[in-house]
Symmetry: D2
């Protein structure tokens, strides 16, 4: 850790700071310039809260040398993590497509979509039971019933189910779910993350609209800290000034996450763009950038969907795109 002091600090203040730092048992190297004094802290600085150092009145700025994330850091865990759900693997060269409607609406709808996406090659079924909606007057999802319908669809197709949790009060309802999704708006719902750290299910963690890549990793770190190391990271677009897309897909996040962490990286082209015509190019780009999986919205009847119809593909359109996706995945040396 590097601590840069304000110009010409009184020696007394420096001594106080050094004294305070001694308790952390790190080696302190002092670099004195004409006006500037710099402290180089060496050793295990993870116990030192960077904000506390920043708060000292003679401190100009502080910079970490080591990353604040440990468990998800590839430095300390060089091998790729593989998420295996009933034999369907994601990570370390195993590529999968997760598909399904934004919202579960009826048994007929979810089963029809499930069969269709399975036929096209999707290996996981997604569907929203609890729906985060900006407006309290919009459809909020079938909730508990939606999860039952997803189980029905799994019974009929064998596809593991992925669905979003919005509150730890609902956790019991997710016993039967295969992969629990944490949505962008809950990426920093730390109490929820702590709870998910104690369960034994894979977590699909979506990046928040205005969260940095490091913050996404720190949220994954919360889940690991609880003992659950089955985490998949999902890039789904960040919020910018651009209005032609709902969000701006941060494609660079894919290779960066693959480099600094060992977790599988998923891309959600449907939410990133908010328009069906971009799903194909963004899917291919994501695979080319190194993504381990895609999560795509498919609806049997988009124009009558209860939510996100504008970004949902028809099963026919999805089937065509899946051809390109599978081909690109093999081209990139992925196992399907």
């Amino acid at each position: 850790m590097i601590v840069i002091l304000k110009q010409d600090p009184p020696q007394k203040k420096i001594d106080e700071l050094l004294h305070w730092l001694e308790d952390f048992h790190v080696n302190i190297n002092i670099v004195k310039g004409a006006h500037t004094t710099i402290l180089g802290l060496v050793g295990d600085t993870s116990k030192i809260d960077i904000e506390s150092v920043q708060a000292k009145d003679i401190v100009e700025s502080v910079q970490r040398v080591q990353e604040p994330y440990k468990n998800v850091n590839r430095k300390f865990h060089p091998d790729d993590t593989i998420i295996d759900v009933h034999g369907e693997k994601i990570g370390e060269g195993h590529f999968k497509v997760i598909a399904g409607p934004c919202s579960v609406e009826t048994e007929a709808q979810i089963c029809q979509v499930a069969k269709a996406v399975k036929a096209s090659g999707a290996k996981f079924l997604r569907g929203g039971a609890f729906k985060p909606r900006t407006s309290p007057y919009a459809f909020q999802g079938l909730r508990a019933e939606g999860i039952e319908l997803l189980s029905e669809a799994r019974k009929e197709t064998g596809l593991p189910i992925v669905t979003e949790i919005m509150s730890l009060a609902h956790l019991d309802l997710f016993n039967d779910v295969d992969v629990i999704q944490v949505g962008a708006r809950n990426m920093q719902n730390f109490e929820l993350l702590k709870e998910l750290g104690h369960c034994d299910k894979p977590i699909l963690l979506k990046r928040g609209l205005a969260n940095t890549i490091e913050e996404l990793l720190m949220s994954a770190e919360y889940i690991f800290a609880g003992g659950n190391n089955k985490v998949m990271l999902c890039e789904r677009g960040v919020r910018t000034f651009e209005t032609m897309t709902r969000n701006t897909l941060d494609i660079s996040a894919v290779p960066i996450l693959k480099k600094v962490s060992h977790l599988p990286v998923i891309v959600d082209p449907s939410h990133a763009a908010g328009r069906t015509d971009l799903v194909k190019p963004l899917s291919l780009a994501s695979i080319a950038a190194g993504a381990d999986a895609l999560i795509i919205e498919v609806h049997n009847d988009p124009k009558n969907a209860l939510s996100d119809g504008a970004q949902s593909l028809t099963p026919e359109a999805f089937d065509t795109i899946m051809g390109d996706i599978k081909s690109m995945a093999s081209y990139m040396g992925k196992q399907l």
Copy 2:
């Protein structure tokens, strides 16, 4: 609602759309151009989900004419809402300062700060019991014990207490709290908002780091929808590319929120800037822009604070700034 159709849509598709719209009992006015067809929907369009219309394959774009928020909309509730906590009023010309430490640390600390800020003229005590921290390894707050200590401080000073809730699982612990704060990261934790809609306490709702002003109003709408109309809106900075401040205070949000809604508007200059030297100018600017209250971080010993020390004022510094704040508030015709 304005629905713009794609170029030269087949009449059959138009008829389908018109037929679908009839169920909503709105008057439909058709504007036909050379290539463009526009539908003007008149009447109560609040039941029509804009996304569902957007999803129709012949629809180019959709635009609402009425705002999506109703209960918090000044159009339907012209008079200012006043939040009254044991006689301390916020709104409609009543101005207050909420002050206290980022985190409650010890009884001595919180009581000392409470007495100090009260002496300087603060009318509410803030303090974090449950702390949302980016890192699982950072201090997470005293939690339940923190709330007890806040009550102690209230007993000693009479100041109503404001503290943040991070999970509806903790709701019972907040029975004794005067104002429940919803932090920026939970602004779209809709399950929490719904629950708070059923309780009878004032809610201080902070704007998310990347949420629009309209989204903030829609989150307040969630609380109203549950029956709780005691909501205060708080601008605390949005995330931008600028690095000299922790966040960018969106000062324009203050007059806009005052204009389109009837709710009190609070500004948090401490979190917006993340640096103590900006607390005074941003506080004065916020009052000048029409804010009804300020929430400011004060710590008896910032350089040893367990969190946010860098943006916490000493009681002495706070006392000086309070002089300027009170003077500016009276200059702006506010009642203290």
Copy 3:
């Protein structure tokens, strides 16, 4: 054009507005609701300045139905534009790589890099003679001499040269340049764009750091308006809150630009990321998303480069990546 009026406007004001609009010879359709009045303007509305309408005191909001760009709009020019420089084609399936150093430094350096990138398969040589630097104390480029050295390199390798113009005062110096680049900071230097509209050279127009896709198209429209229709659009990253990359590559801009315009689309992965380790994944992703060309920084000795060394590849690293790029381009059906 859709004009939404404020609630219950006085008839006199409406009549004034209608009278004012008549001069534009468009058909006006009036949609009257309980409180809302909407005007649907049909016909050639391109002469109507949206801001002037917005300024009318009874106007709530205005929305265009047609895009404001005409010449670069695929609707009016369905076929792809091909840029042909001495037989080297970009666009309509023709894919090329433009490579070279950030700054031209010496004849030896530029010629060495030119030979190297040519050997690896690059078909254009890039190099900065005039350098836009944030600091007046940083190396500003060799300027006129730099352009001479680029010509030398072209003489030795036959590669057409691409270099950036920073002021129309330098235009004469660019007579011998094959492709004139307009940098991100000058994307809205309208006087420069107008001048470039009168010259007969291909223009490589880079998107500004905070400019929308539509603004990029409008800047291209400036060049077309002057009579020059040889424009290539370049996505090079936009500015966001993310700090792990210099900028955030807006990969979605590639398929959108290809869809709404007929111009070739180039991606600059070097400037977007600002780090060499992302050049390969972002290059592959860009091709997968439909890019017609890439512009990549290569330096014979990055660690002693006078600018942008951190994002410049060595010729060896570039040669390896070119293998992957060529293979991906053919996979995507591009002609090299």
Copy 4:
């Protein structure tokens, strides 16, 4: 300057780096940790290009301790700079309002507005002769003729004139202008800044839509480097995701610029908000935050303005707001 090396760098590479650094005659302090090595460079590091250091293959990251701006830095020039135009002072407690139309349209219009704003207390007349417009089809300004009309208005009112330059090719036309404005889109038009560094007129430098406060200061540094130290900095809003305002006024920039630099700081509430109803609250907030001047758009007939009508005040509205502005300025201890 702090140089953090990558983990376990080979000694040979370290020696090369140290050897390279020796040429800059700075003292180098080496801090060695278990895996990390840090170099603390002390002395005059202004000659060392941070990018060149960053480019060294064993360098992980580099951080400056001193600010990159010198001439505009308050550290090296503690006293406020005062800009004096024919006796009208801005800075060091002298507060002024600059007002006028977005575009100069006719002699009658500009003279009428000039007289009106003078009567209300404005001390400078603003008006656009050269207009940067997103669309080539929008009104581009009266150009040379516009400057003549501004001179006419000055003759009639005595108000010094402020107008924007868009190209150094027009510089001769500005001989008769009192203050030359550099617009947001040209903030990093470095060739223009260099030229303005050689002229003897005050420059009103506007912050770019996506430029940091530090970049604004570096652009001012360009003008100083040329020998012209008459620079005023203008905050006019940055681009964010918020859509209720045209831009987001970064109010924090005002106190920060006043603190780190000695230059006068101006705020443009008209362009920041893009709506007249926010001009008053943003003006008062800016003064409360420490602004030395305001630049406000006023048009005799906004609803028929050729540009920016939506954000232009009528002379009557401006007169009312001026009352509040003058009162707030005196309240803040400014001299009018």
